[in-house]
């Protein structure tokens, strides 16, 4: 697949259709690909990688790049990334006519930290061949079943369908009937005290690095509320429980109805806090209260928090509904 993609992209470079491409650059290992801008076909041929570790969602980087005056930028988007792209488009953060999208097919991505946890930290290289992941370590070759090391967010994949592209590699995928709200339901069925202690345990690990906010394709404000010195909520590192709670409630609230559930927040969290559960809770509530809505599905439908219905449910429903303890 990688070589086909490279071949096609080189063609686009040569025909001057595009002036740069944003993709995944080879790192020191198979798994530490960094999102990067390729300015020439030579660079791309040499350093572009598309493999099971090309997890980074590249759509947000387009904001900065599509503001450049010159030429078209090519971007590689996996199916879930296309939803983020549409969202950005809908909010006028990027200009469509300056971007060329190659949709790349996506099997589940792998999680290097799961592989390391299972096989040790002395990993030299990892590669996946269908169902088995083969890992070269200082200790020799080891194998592990792919199903054990799939990235968490891919375990609950919502869609294999590319909702926007100029060119697609592979077959058109389908929207999946995912079980992504299962974990949210488990929490909903807990007692409030249990939920509170669950979230305290999780959020107390937060180091306040803002990675979840900065990687999020829906967090695109020029000036974030948490960067406003006069807001009274601005903080570099949370000083106590309250600030940890507040940051995460507000972060999730600010993307409620706009979050496409791409899962980048949880993927990049250095402390593995399941932040996507907060976002999914909002998505689940929105579906329940205001009808099914998938952000990024199209660019016409208004986001749920920017519209209303005269007969919407009252906030007191939170107390009275039966399916949530």
């Amino acid at each position: 697949m990688q070589s086909e993609i490279i071949k096609r992209t080189v063609e686009l470079f040569n025909s001057e259709e595009i002036v740069r491409a944003i993709g995944w650059r080879k790192g020191d290992f198979d798994y530490d690909l960094n999102p990067s801008i390729f300015k020439s076909s030579e660079d791309l041929e040499k350093n572009f990688v598309y493999n099971d570790f090309s997890s980074a969602n590249l759509s947000k980087f387009l904001i900065k790049i599509s503001q450049k005056e010159d030429g078209k930028t090519l971007v590689f988007l996996k199916s879930c990334d296309t939803y983020s792209f549409n969202s950005l488009l809908q909010e006028h953060r990027i200009s469509r006519d300056k971007i060329y999208i190659i949709g790349v097919p996506c099997e589940e991505n792998l999680d290097p930290s799961k592989i390391k946890a299972a096989l040790g930290e002395d990993v030299l290289s990892m590669s996946c061949d269908g169902e088995t992941v083969t890992v070269e370590t200082l200790d020799g070759t080891k194998t592990i079943s792919k199903s054990e090391v799939i990235l968490d967010r891919c375990l609950a994949c919502k869609s294999r369908k590319h909702v926007v592209y100029d060119e697609l590699f592979g077959e058109e995928g389908e929207v999946l009937d995912s079980k992504r709200f299962d974990q949210v339901e488990i929490l909903e069925n807990m007692k409030p005290e249990e939920r509170y202690s669950f979230w305290r345990t999780e959020l107390s690990r937060c180091i306040g690095c803002n990675a979840c906010r900065d990687i999020c394709p829906a967090c695109t404000c020029e000036k974030c509320v948490f960067d406003n010195r006069d807001s009274g909520v601005e903080n570099k590192v949370a000083t106590n429980d309250f600030e940890e709670n507040m940051f995460h409630i507000i972060r999730a609230f600010h993307v409620a109805g706009r979050c496409t559930d791409c899962g980048e927040c949880s993927r990049v969290c250095p402390e593995d806090i399941p932040l996507h559960l907060l976002n999914r809770k909002f998505i689940k509530d929105i579906n329940e209260f205001y009808g099914n809505y998938q952000a990024g599905d199209d660019i016409e439908t208004l986001a749920p928090l920017t519209r209303f219905d005269a007969v919407d449910v009252e906030p007191s429903i939170v107390k009275t509904r039966e399916n949530v303890k």
């Binding site: 949210v184 509170y196 979230w199 909520v233 709670n245 507040m246 209260f289 005269a310 449910v313 949530v324």
Partner: protein
Amino acid sequence: MSVKEKTEFQPKIVAFCCNWCSYAGADLAGTNRTNYPANVKIIRVPCSCRVNPIFILRAFQRGADGVIICGCHPGDCHYITGNYYTRRRMTLLFSMLDFLGIEKDRTRVEWVSASEGGRFAEVMTEFTNDVKAIGPNRKLEDLRCKAK
């Protein structure tokens, strides 16, 4: 009995009241000499949809035990649609607070018009009693604000 009464927990209640309805409703309660608990501190806002979720969290941080938002009845918003947005936002926010395990009875939205002085007092009394029953806010407190 009397000792118990003295030490009874007195919650701090923050009420965000829309300028065009419930704030006037509170006024009316006052001019009618209708009693409502002294625990309630009113903050006037131009519309219930002015209330940013951060305000609510900040109220808890600064020592509130309960936060209530009062706006015009749906359909009666001075700015035509403001309270419809409030309704959606607060439904989601309260649901999220619940999801984090914070007591559901600490937050409430009520629609109180300018003519409903009596209802204003009723709502406040009821809300204050609800919050009294669940006790002081511990889950969203900031100890720095409680010292001394």
